[in-house]
């Protein structure tokens, strides 16, 4: 799963031109940057923000899909969904660890998520209303994620790139399990097919928006590209996603809910209708239908778990003391 294009990165930096030039030469030579290496403050800040947003997205992303684990309509689906949602948790864990190499702790990042300072992918602020949503999320949302994440495996920051390689390897089953669910519904009873189409109608536009604002409106994107934190522009990735997805929908007889969608022979890709950016920004700014509930659920898990974490630490302290006394 993944976050949208980075929101609100601040690549400003104060180092000397010589330092920045030398750093840029390393990047241009495709050298990886590792945790203890000297790096521009803006580079570090951009990464902390991006990896943090990415990690938060994985964690919050567990909620909409987790909403259906207890209702999955076959034991095979139940096991697959549980394994998938578990994977999202693992991906959040790898990513937090990658961010921790930059000197910010997981607890700090968690606090930022819970008090609203940190962003996460706005797609997870939509509700999952039927079982078909689980299929469509796997197909579209994980599909969009893969488009975004594969280039991140070559990101200039070593720990982020390594985490992404592991994430991509594990995610290869996610989109397939989603598409298989949708395909089964599309070939099922009329009610099941209607359920699949309804889910596609609701998730298509939010999925398209996952790639972030149009390139012309994307702040700080150029600096991220130069630093090779980002490798393709939002619009390039969005185009790739649409071109890959349209035939998949046609194959199972579902209709993409965009009347303006047409094949453009000249560019060798699809043209799509206008995106509702007002909705995008409304949801990004925390006014999505499920935004409050998502943070409330994360806050509850964190607060309810405090006594467990404290007990583990207290016990560890006792163990240490006993060991010392025995020596």
């Amino acid at each position: 799963m993944y976050s949208q294009g980075l929101i609100g990165a601040d690549g400003r930096t104060t180092e000397s031109p010589e330092f920045l030039e030398a750093f840029q030469r390393r990047i241009d030579a495709e050298e990886k940057i590792e945790p203890n290496d000297a790096m521009p403050e803006g580079y570090r800040r951009t990464l902390v923000r991006q990896i943090g947003q990415h990690a938060h997205s994985e964690i919050v992303g567990m909620l909409p899909e987790g909403n259906w684990i207890t209702r999955a309509p076959s034991l095979r689906r139940k096991a697959a969904l549980l394994a998938k949602v578990q994977d999202e948790g693992g991906h959040g864990l790898y990513l937090y660890a990658a961010a921790e190499t930059l000197g910010v702790s997981r607890d700090q990042m968690t606090e930022e998520l819970l008090d609203g300072r940190a962003k996460y992918s706005s797609i997870f602020n939509y509700p999952t209303l039927t079982w078909a949503d689980i299929g469509v999320i796997g197909w579209l949302v994980d599909g969009a994620a893969i488009m975004n994440q594969i280039p991140l495996c070559r990101c200039s920051y070593g720990p982020y790139a390594r985490a992404m390689i592991r994430v991509c390897k594990e995610e290869s089953f996610h989109q397939r399990q989603g598409y298989e669910i949708v395909m089964t519904l599309a070939r099922g009873t009329p009610e099941q097919k209607a359920m699949a189409q309804d889910a596609l109608n609701r998730w298509w536009w939010p999925s398209i928006m996952m790639f972030g604002p149009h390139d012309a409106d994307s702040q700080h994107s150029d600096q991220s590209m130069a630093w090779k934190i980002k490798r393709f522009s939002n619009d390039e990735l969005r185009q790739k996603f649409i071109d890959a997805t349209v035939p998949q929908a046609e194959f199972i007889g579902l209709t993409i809910p965009d009347p303006d969608l047409t094949w453009n022979e000249a560019k060798g890709g699809y043209d799509h209708g206008p995106i509702d950016w007002d909705e995008f920004w409304r949801v990004v700014k925390g006014h999505g239908p499920m935004a409050k509930d998502r943070i409330k659920a994360r806050r509850k898990a964190w607060d309810d778990g405090a006594w467990v974490r404290e007990a583990a630490l207290a016990h560890a302290e006792k163990r240490r003391a006993r060991k010392m006394a025995a020596e």
């Binding site: 209702r71 009610e191 207290a314």
Partner: protein, 244 residues
């Protein structure tokens, strides 16, 4: 059809407990547990699937594993009351897991040498899974029992809340006289040894239960199982005959 009934009882235990554990996914006290609990849940659901499938084969009426899981109501479910107890807090969840795994580990060990090929296969795999569940849940019970004042109180409350359901573990149920399955009553000493070993480190003691609770094997459940099943079966039952 004593074997059929006995296999179904085991399958229900595993599915219901696996379902309960899966409810934690995304809500655990720390991220590492968001991965650990689904691992245990997936072990249990995997075993349940094999057992339902076997039960369906024994019955020979063309039912599937999903028919078994999704089309029986609370009076037909045969799971132990322990398995259906709500998660409540992390202390109760870990203790419930320990109680169950500490029974199933020696049970599967005994079953691995039995006369039924399918059961031997299940046992061979499950015995390793249960060994890990004992370790994971057990280490948590120790940490919570001997952690902070609050965690120790919660752990004692958990023992208070759950111990009265453990007697049912040792009732033979439908397995009475079934050669392919071990005697459940005979597992008791091994179970007690495991629990005492962990409780000793967790500063807990095994209480004497005045009024043990039982009835799951006869479909006499607590009220929460009905809600669990209503939720679990809702989509499946809303679309009779559909494929998923």
């Amino acid at each position: 059809m004593a074997l059929f009934d006995a296999v179904l009882e085991l399958a229900d235990d595993h599915l219901v407990l696996g379902h309960r554990l899966s409810e934690w996914c995304g809500h655990a006290p720390m991220l590492e547990e968001d991965l650990a609990m689904p691992n245990m849940a997936l072990d249990l659901i995997g075993t349940a699937r094999t057992l339902y499938d076997y039960a369906a084969t024994l019955e020979g009426q063309g039912r599937t594993e999903d028919d078994m899981a999704y089309l029986r109501g609370e009076r037909e479910y045969r799971n132990l009351l322990l398995c259906e107890r709500p998660n409540e807090d992390f202390a109760q969840t870990m203790l419930r897991q320990l109680y169950f795994a500490a029974f199933m580990h020696p049970y599967w060990q005994a079953a691995a040498g039995g006369g039924d090929e399918v059961i031997r296969g299940v046992a061979g795999k499950a015995v390793k899974e249960m060994a890990y569940h004992i370790r994971h849940a057990g280490e948590w019970v120790i940490r919570l029992g001997d952690g902070t004042e609050e965690s120790a109180r919660r752990m004692k409350d958990a023992v208070e809340a759950l111990h009265l359901y453990t007697g049912e573990l040792f009732e033979e149920g439908a397995a009475e006289g079934v050669d392919a399955l071990p005697s459940r009553a005979a597992i008791k000493p091994a179970w007690e040894a495991t629990i005492d070993h962990i409780f000793g480190q967790a500063l807990l003691s095994r209480p004497v239960v005045q009024y043990p609770q039982t009835g799951g094997r006869r479909g006499l459940h607590g009220e929460s199982l009905g809600h669990l099943l209503a939720e679990m079966q809702s989509v499946y039952r809303a679309h009779p005959g559909a494929t998923w």
